[in-house]
Amino acid sequence: MSLFAEVPQAAPVAVFKLTADFREDKHPSKVNLGVGAYRTDECQPWVLPVVRKVEQLIANDHGLNHEYLPILGLPEFRASASKIALGEDSPAIKENRVGGVQSLGGTGALRIGAEFLRRWYNGKNNTATPIYVSAPTWENHNAVFSDAGFTDVRPYRYWDAEKRGLALAGFLEDLENAPEYSVFLLHACAHNPTGTDPTPDEWKQIAEIMERKKLFAFFDSAYQGFASGDLQKDAWAVRYFVSKGFELFCAQSFSKNFGLYNERVGNLTVVAKDSDNASRILSQMEKIVRTIWSNPPSQGARIVATTLTTPELFAEWKDNVKTMADRVLLMRSQLKAKLQALGTPGTWEHITQQIGMFSFTGLNPNQVGYLIKEKHVYLMASGRINMCGLTTKNLDYVAESIHETVTKIQ
């Protein structure tokens, strides 16, 4: 008799199941708009040219070894990663109150931050502190915080389905009504899954309430540079909060903007009140890291650090990032144009207004079901599509399929 006899099969993660179903589909025109990574116009993965270059440099550098990194990670990586988020001239960096924890992608950074907050924030070990995540949000946010021990993970209003934009009034109201010291998980840019970001003016309103109500800002920054093509622009919200004197965490991922998905490169940037706070916080985070992955993998961090700190490579990287961002922008404008040309019912402005990898199409579950089953166009039940799945070759088919779906299914 097995002691694991009662272990149930875990529910599959929706986006993985979608990809698995897509793989099994034999239809010649099938399109995967649920793909989680950048694809070229040939629908191929793309290793950034600058990454290939740096990989070779590293592989040929006999001065490098494979010894354990420090628990908090490669120092050059941590510093340059935080710098890219906060800006070269960030006052917080100058005042020596910024720290970084090299993490396993954005997920790892979120988890370290969450584990730390559960132990040391708002009265020690306060697992009942409300954690607010946007409605909707990335499907893993909830689980990361609850697995870290938080018992009250709640939504804040974010997406207005009717007007297909930010539910600002609801968002601000939820901020006003949140218990003091609640934690708010904010998407730094290119909100996943809606692609809808607050404007600078709206961020200012958000920050004002958060300051007044003593709410903790935990940013998730997975798309810096990838969203608008401009690193600074994509970091505006985080830098604004820092300029207002907030203590905050920012979970950074370099999976998308460096295409380093499988090297698991992330950084938890900690902005503290002063350097003493920063050291104490980092010392406790080190203890947490020790019991999860002990010390982080070096390869991806070396690639990022080398690139960010070498001017020619940095320039080449920005160029590569712009290539990806531009292709996404092109697909957005072409999809919208085709839908409008077909006279597809509804408005499609949101496709070019939204930003980043994803678009919240506004298609309802029935329409999504039809698109998948009848047209073999795969997308999330929420109506989210990944623009990277679109190419100049499949654009017509996708536009026609959406047109057919919307006209047939209400």
């Binding site: 990574a37 290793v47 010894e67 790892g108 390869q299």
Partner: protein
């Protein structure tokens, strides 16, 4: 902006014993200083040993134009976990043939222990009481307890392992402790190369351990931190693990490829699951995926690719195994030399235990006072347990280390007694 930090009350974390030793060693200006604790296999220059083939294989991997950097599956590279499982259990293991053994790629050994702990905490014996006590050997390797605690396991106890009189492993006290452990307790066991003592149960000891554990329904959680670096032969290093599997045990095994592949910073590990039926394996793997999803989401690719390539290429495999033999021989040689130096200095007792122990670590049997003496007076740094990493003793430091130990054992250490 409010003046007070939200973290004003967060204390500075206490540095670990390992960290304190390293810091003290770094500050020490003496030319004779020696740091005898490390978790890497160090070469003569005092650096984590890089296997000769690593550079060329890594170059091959990263020069491959078809290499993409797409996410690995949550459970890791299937070829890697299959190879890791075969390395641990042997390719012809019935558990593999019956599809009831499989691996989950993890972040080194620590990641495997953490994942195993999370699974036990959440799912072990769901119908009955949640995971009861977990037993670790006394003494036990650095962060195992903390990693278990990180997963929410609070009832951590110890079983007797190191016998200070015998200066080695004694099976009788261990068996006594197992007899009184609550049924279904989890017992953490080093399959070989015990950390931190280097002391090993014999095959006949293992048989007795297995008998008690089977009878009392105790669950084995094996650690296999450096397969191949104990006896120089991966199969022999896994003998205890394979023996338990042959008896029909369900078990977990945390495998690390840090030391036996010199891939410390690549974080290559695997959590081996051996269950009664293949359907159970699938269910537990799916739950492992849920746990991984919020810990690190997916494992890193490079190191796992290298290990897979080596384990599946006959020429590279032979080269790797030869490399292991060389590393083990060097470790044994250092042990021999230390014992010989101590004998020549006229040390009062026999120091046979140094050469009887195997793997990276050696429990010297020095008392806490003697260790204090070494640290405070001789510039020789080692933890209070008296355990050392033999590869941390180089040709350059051997004489000083031996002389210091001799002094520690023969001096009157009144002032070091608490």
């Amino acid at each position: 902006m409010a003046a007070l930090s939200s973290f004003a009350d967060t204390p500075t974390a206490q540095p670990s014993e390992e960290d304190r030793l390293s810091l003290a060693f770094l500050k020490d200006r003496s030319t004779e200083k020696a740091l005898l604790w490390c978790t890497e296999y160090l070469n003569e220059e005092g650096h984590g040993s890089l296997l000769p083939m690593t550079r060329k294989v890594m170059l091959q991997i990263y020069s491959d134009p078809t290499l993409t950097l797409d996410y690995l599956p949550t459970l890791g590279l299937p070829e890697f976990t299959r190879s890791a499982t075969e390395l641990a259990l042997g390719r012809d293991s019935p558990a593999i043939r019956e599809n009831r053994a499989g691996g989950v790629q993890t972040l080194g050994g620590t990641g495997a222990i953490r994942l195993g702990a999370e699974l036990l905490q959440r799912w072990y014996n769901v119908g009955g009481a949640r995971c009861g006590p977990v037993y670790l050997s006394s003494p036990s390797g650095g962060s195992v307890a903390a990693t278990l605690q990180g997963a929410g396991i609070s009832d951590i106890r110890s079983y007797r392992y190191w016998d200070p009189d015998k200066k080695g492993f004694s099976v009788a006290p261990l068996l006594e402790d197992l007899e009184v452990a609550p049924e279904q307790s989890v017992i953490v066991l080093y399959a070989s190369a015990h950390c931190p003592t280097g002391a090993e149960p014999s095959q006949s000891d293992w048989k007795q351990i297995a008998e008690v554990m089977m009878r009392r329904r105790l669950f084995p959680f094996f650690l296999l931190p450096s397969q191949g670096l104990c006896w120089g032969d991966p199969a022999q290093d896994a003998w205890s693990l394979r023996y338990f599997v042959s008896l029909g045990f369900e078990l977990l095994c945390a495998q690390s490829f840090s030391t036996n592949f010199g891939l410390y910073s690549d974080r290559v590990g695997s959590l081996l699951l051996v269950l009664k039926h293949s359907s159970l394996l699938l269910a537990v793997q799916s739950q492992a995926a849920s746990v991984v999803h919020t810990l690190w989401s997916r494992p890193p690719g490079g190191g796992a690719r290298l290990v897979t390539m080596v384990l599946n290429n006959p020429a590279l495999l032979a080269e790797w195994k030869e490399g292991l033999r060389v590393m083990v021989e060097r470790g044994m040689l250092i042990r021999e030399k230390l014992k010989e130096r101590l004998r020549m200095l006229g040390i009062p007792e026999f120091w046979d235990h140094v050469t009887q122990q195997r793997g990276l670590y050696c429990c010297t049997g020095l008392t806490e006072e003697q260790v204090q003496f070494l640290v405070m007076t001789c510039h020789v740094y080692l933890p209070a347990s008296g355990c050392v990493n033999v590869t941390a003793i180089s040709g350059r430091t051997l004489d000083h280390v031996a002389e210091s130990i001799y002094l520690a054992v023969t001096s009157d250490l009144q002032e070091y007694r608490h």
